[in-house]
Amino acid sequence: MNASPSNSSDKTSDAAMSRRSFLRGAAAFGGLTALAASLAPLLKLHEFTSTEEFLQKYYKEMTPDDMARVLRRITAEVEREYGVRPHVRDLKPMDGVEFIYALNLTRCIGCRKCVHACVAENNPSLNPEIQYIRVLKMPHGSMDVEKGDHTYADKEVPEKGFFYMPVQCQQCKNPPCVKVCPVNATWQEKDGITVIDYDWCIGCRYCEAACPYWARRFNFTKPEIPKDRLNPDMAYLGNRPRKQGVMEKCHFCIQRTRVGRYPACLEACPVGARKFGNILDPESEVSYILREKRVFIQLKEEMGTSPRFFYYFDK
């Protein structure tokens, strides 16, 4: 190496430091910085999804081995996140069972215990708040849900002149939410429960828009559940913790009802207004109610959704 080329390169660099090359360099630097900044969230990708979850198969195509692997992953994830070892299962619908819910509007006093029993059972986000059940306070003489108020903060319930109508997923026989899902992440099982695979949902919220009962909820942010309020008894299609950007809704407490138990909202109802069971069993309470009681309301019946949720009056 001799001195002259370096001298000449010095010269050229001096000469090249024109306004044009400075701007070009600054623009390139700025552009690269912006690109890096825009890609930075990718560094946090592991918080959102794991490779294993990303490569997971569609629920209906999973073999028992695949499912066992997935359940192990979910168990480990929940334990890492909440410090509680959950009991996660994949519960299949039972043969000869179709679930029906009946709610006695004569009895409901609007105490909202079902709302909070559901929250305690199903691990929805507490902050921001997600609740599956909305108790509408309705003036007597109308079944128009537009007249309902779900934010009532009365000192005492029931108030004279009003009745209370809890609304949650109606588990339609003809569910509009299932039809609009572009990725088949939600479907109706043979026991009548419309389920969501939270690992398959892409968060497009079409189902939320399609549901005439305002029953589906979206996780706008990462759900927050205090550790001491986490229910460790979980099901894959049921109450396992959700992540940001997926839909959720009432699933008739799959983790309870598919092992023969009553849903949490029913057990919490202090007046026994909620009745649940297998409509294919003529001896069940719901069969008795549909046989013996007179007035039934399937909410927004005219939509043709054919809900499996029946409202009735005693007298």
Partner: protein, 223 residues
């Protein structure tokens, strides 16, 4: 095209410089304002507290005689003959409006059974010759631990619904092959002397977002 005179081009350059300089200062100023948050955008929403545990309590509202027996608790309230004389059944007294005058010793009993509280004759349910039992109008004598048939003797349809599981609270298993369902007795929910369910405080409703946020972050000059 006419060539631009030297004077005009100098003026053009000055104007460009002023405009660009002004824009730079404006953007810089705006970024400073944004950074210092001078218009006071609101901070994060307050954390929503988990619901009070008393609203998650699913135990029955009332305890019946049968519950007390099961829990081996004090049953002295049911020992009628500690005060009453076996040979002299207590006499019922009414005021001019045919309202029962509840004696002082039973002041905890609030009568309110039936429309206009008309079912106020104690011996409609209590057994006059033996106060330790109850009696149905057809003469059957029932213990305090078995009251549904007594209530059912008047409330037939409700009793029928209750037997079918359609009236009253249930719990446990809907699938009886997997486990038992829990059933409650009439008096677990209803006070036999005033059976109407009293009004009570509802659990909190949904928290509305962005209605009662915290005070804005420091700043707020431009609000």
């Amino acid at each position: 095209m006419e060539p631009i005179s030297a004077h005009a081009s100098a003026r053009l350059r000055t104007r460009t410089r002023v405009v660009l300089g002004g824009l730079a200062v404006l953007f810089f100023g705006m970024s400073v304002l944004f950074f210092l948050n001078l218009w006071g955008r609101t901070g994060p929403q307050p954390a929503i507290p988990p619901v009070d545990l008393r609203f998650l309590d699913t135990s029955p509202w009332r305890r019946t005689y049968a519950d007390l027996v099961k829990a081996r608790e004090d049953l002295s309230d049911y020992d009628c003959y500690a005060c009453h004389d076996k040979a002299k059944p207590p006499v019922l007294r009414f005021d001019s409006g045919h309202r029962l005058l509840v004696p002082q010793e039973h002041a905890n009993i609030v009568m309110g059974h039936g429309s206009h509280d008309r079912n106020n004759l104690c011996y409609n349910c209590h057994n006059e010759p033996n106060l330790a039992t109850l009696q149905v109008r057809d003469g059957r004598e029932l213990g305090f631990d078995n009251i549904p048939p007594l209530c059912g003797s008047c409330h037939g349809p409700t009793y029928r619904d209750w037997e079918a599981g359609a009236h009253g609270r249930t719990g446990g298993y809907w699938d009886r092959s997997k486990g038992a369902a829990t059933r409650l007795s009439c008096a677990n929910c209803h006070n036999p002397h005033s059976p109407r369910i009293p009004a009570r405080e509802p659990a909190p409703g949904p928290h509305a977002l962005r209605t009662a946020g915290p005070p804005p972050l420091p700043g707020g000059l431009l609000r």
